[in-house]
């Protein structure tokens, strides 16, 4: 990988997904504990920043009144986000987990409303203007937003790497479904954070 052409994209690292007490914690905690997700996300961020890899965030829309009103159909995950007011604006759950906060020089893309970090956002424009061709994806959730973002990314011509142990999902079965059947079709490689750290980034 060439640092100047690579971006780490952290998807939906909200307290509601990743922190005890978050609205998705009861569902997500099994994968977070099994994979040691939060530690691995921190390690991936630290390593990429040290190596000069550009860090981007692809955040899901925060819940606020009317945010879903322009949708004719709410798909299952968007419907549940509306019902449970997931990532509510100006709430603890709607903030990024403390240890995963953006730092100076990072890019926080505009919000995605459904699941792909590219659809309706400024992420692709920013990556293009930054000369990025390779993406390293991590965050939440394995078979929804992360996989959707990967599927969009390959259509847009990016080479996609997914960090298999820096992910969370609503169950271990969901995570395994993404690893076995989803990422096999939409990622060029699926590696651990250890492998990322051991790999050469020029």
């Amino acid at each position: 990988m060439i640092a100047a052409q690579t971006a780490l994209v952290v998807i939906d690292p909200y307290n509601d997904f990743l922190s005890p007490g978050g609205k998705g914690w009861l569902l997500n905690r099994a994968t977070i504990r099994a994979l040691d997700t939060n530690t691995n996300l921190e390690r991936a961020l630290k390593h990429c920043r040290t190596q000069g890899v550009h860090v981007c965030y692809a955040p899901h829309a925060q819940f606020r009144q009317g945010v879903y009103d322009r949708r004719r159909y709410l798909n299952p995950s968007a419907y549940l986000a509306k019902v449970f007011r997931t990532f509510r604006q100006n709430s603890w759950g709607g903030r990024f987990r403390h240890a995963l906060q953006p730092q100076q020089g990072d890019f926080v893309a505009s919000e995605h409303l459904v699941s792909s970090g590219f659809v309706g956002t400024d992420l692709h424009g920013h990556l293009q203007s930054s000369g990025i061709s390779d993406l390293i994806l991590c965050g939440c959730l394995s078979n929804t937003c992360v996989e959707s973002t990967a599927r969009s990314a390959i259509e847009l011509g990016y080479r996609v790497t997914i960090l298999e142990d820096a992910l969370a999902a609503m169950s271990l079965a969901d995570h395994d479904a993404a690893i076995v059947s989803g990422f096999a079709m939409c990622a060029h490689q699926v590696i651990s954070v250890d492998a990322l750290i051991e790999s050469e980034i020029a």
Binding site: Y73, P76, S115, R159, S181, M185
Partner: protein, 214 residues
Amino acid sequence: MIARAVNRFGQWLVTREMRGYDVETSGATAVLVLSGQRAFLDEDGPWADLCQHPVSLPALRQFLDRCRNRDYHIVHVPLDLEDVASTSAIGETHFFRMIEDHGLLAPSSNSAKPASDLIDVRDIVIPARKGLNAFSGTGLHAHLKTITASRIIIVGGLVNADVDSTARMAVELDYDVTIVADLIASLTDQDRKNTLEITLPRIVGRVASRSTFD
């Protein structure tokens, strides 16, 4: 235990909400036929050997006839690899490498052409799909807008490849999406279960079977 109960409660809420979409839908319905080409439908071809669950051509034909009788629009979106370089980022992904390795869509071969007995004069054929997602660079969304389609039924294609990518993008574009599970191919039982029973129910409105449309 608690997580399973929470998950089930969520699924119950979703099912209840989606039932309302059946009643409220006012736009037209379009059936997207993904990869309806000989290469993917011939019973004796290499694709049938690769897939534990290939799509049955007679069953697909019968389903499309039934949909035409209901005045659904039939939209064929074949895969066209003619200009997809094997060295491009998407050309290097597993699905495209598999197709290339097995010579499935060799340009100008008969197997690359849409199965003519699936196509009716009233149908729409969208050419030049170069990726997994049928909306990407094809003008499909604009076609669907002109026929005022708001509901999409997906048949054909490979469950965790073009079916999944197209379904996700259709949802992003605010269509009500139904996948007909028994008219979708899969390489393995596990891919089928993972995609149709675990992942796609979180993404799309409905995963149904042919019998739902009887």
